[in-house]
Symmetry: C2
Subunit: 278 residues, 2 copies
Amino acid sequence: VIRRTWVNGVEQNTISASDRGLQFGDGLFETMALIGGKVRHVERHLDRLTLGCGRLGIPCPRRAELLDEFSRFAGAEGRAVLKLVLTRGVSERGYRIPESLQPTRILSHNDRPNYPAEWWEQGVKVRWCKTTLSGQPALAGLKHLNRLEQVLARREWSDPDIAEGLMCDRRGYLIGGTMTNVFLVRGKTLTTPRVDECGVAGTMRTTILELANALGLEGAVQEIAGVDVAKAEEMFLTNALIGAWPVHQLGELRLPRSTVTRQVQSLLASSSPNRFRA
Amino acid sequence: VIRRTWVNGVEQNTISASDRGLQFGDGLFETMALIGGKVRHVERHLDRLTLGCGRLGIPCPRRAELLDEFSRFAGAEGRAVLKLVLTRGVSERGYRIPESLQPTRILSHNDRPNYPAEWWEQGVKVRWCKTTLSGQPALAGLKHLNRLEQVLARREWSDPDIAEGLMCDRRGYLIGGTMTNVFLVRGKTLTTPRVDECGVAGTMRTTILELANALGLEGAVQEIAGVDVAKAEEMFLTNALIGAWPVHQLGELRLPRSTVTRQVQSLLASSSPNRFRA
């Protein structure tokens, strides 16, 4: 549930109907875990936002200003979600970008999602989505506002026991979940798909790739054919809010092991709680 | 310039910051020419909107209600633009679509664009864009709100003498302009690219394909390799507002002939004015 929203620092829950975020999805977002009034991995979120602004040509707000705004609006609750939407701003009809446009910052403070505790403990059941991800290197990796593919993929199931759907590119290579990145464990290798053609470079994905060595594993970013997923000994899903969920079932495939996922959860917990719930 | 905006029939220029149109680009739009208080080709616009709603799973407003709303807000000016944005509605964070969501209708009344008269008379200068269009059959043809590719392509030039940029798919096949469809004339064939992998099925494109026979030409929808464009004897651009612009220059390529384009302009003028200007 959304509790409060601020637009360019002013508390209000509306934006201009001419905002390019609405007209074209012309903007970026970050969904951040608030833990005890602090944004977890805030520098990683701001790094990705800065990268996205550079690629889209949106002037990025100053980091100090964003950090100041986050801390003013974070509150002190145990667990919550801070979502930032940054659009290119308000303009007339048409794709052309007028000069000296002011970006729109929309910051919302949301309740934490109420996922079942079992999803961290026993693991989650996931499915394959039919909706594919199209390849666009200019946008790949970014958390931009053009999310119709994810919306269509999420429409493919309504069973509340299915936590997530996995998406492939047009060639049948696994890219990630609708709202998560995916990791596979096989032998001493911890693999996650490339996101340079499609997919999102999740902040938790980056964190976990950096943790691979500490787990005695070799982190690898590579292409993973959907059919090769059955060779994985273990699989888990990650995002900024959930940390890591073990996958115990993918369609008909059972994945009983979660040894590495437990280690990942422990390592995340050693810096900040990995269970984003009460 | 936007003159007035109505949201769900009420005059206001703001929408909820939680609208899925903003959060995900989860919606569709139609940009319609108002001529003497009437929407030109209104049935074609509503046909495409209905198709888009069906494919995205957005409940489509009743046609009679939309027509009523268009006529109430059309005004009586000679030339103007009515733009409808239809989003899936307002929801909480996350891609999942809650049950019984009410779509948001945003209708805006805009001044006509002030393109130079020469663009209809002498033709336009266009360029190739480097930004490619990604293939996504689930979205191809629709006028949905995920338009970052067009925004990035339109950012590639600022020279006001260049009217439009042409975009190809990843394989180098011509798809269309950032805001127009493209037609090529060669012999007795009038060809426009397929839009079943990417691109927009423009209302004016459909109209002109239906006019081909009346021009003594064979209309064809096919793949057009970018390198084959040089074989065209004539080229023109179309959309709901402009009707048809002859292309007289594409990069270094000169296209002096505009015989068919003149006939298209005349045929369009016989039902409604083809020059969308004073």
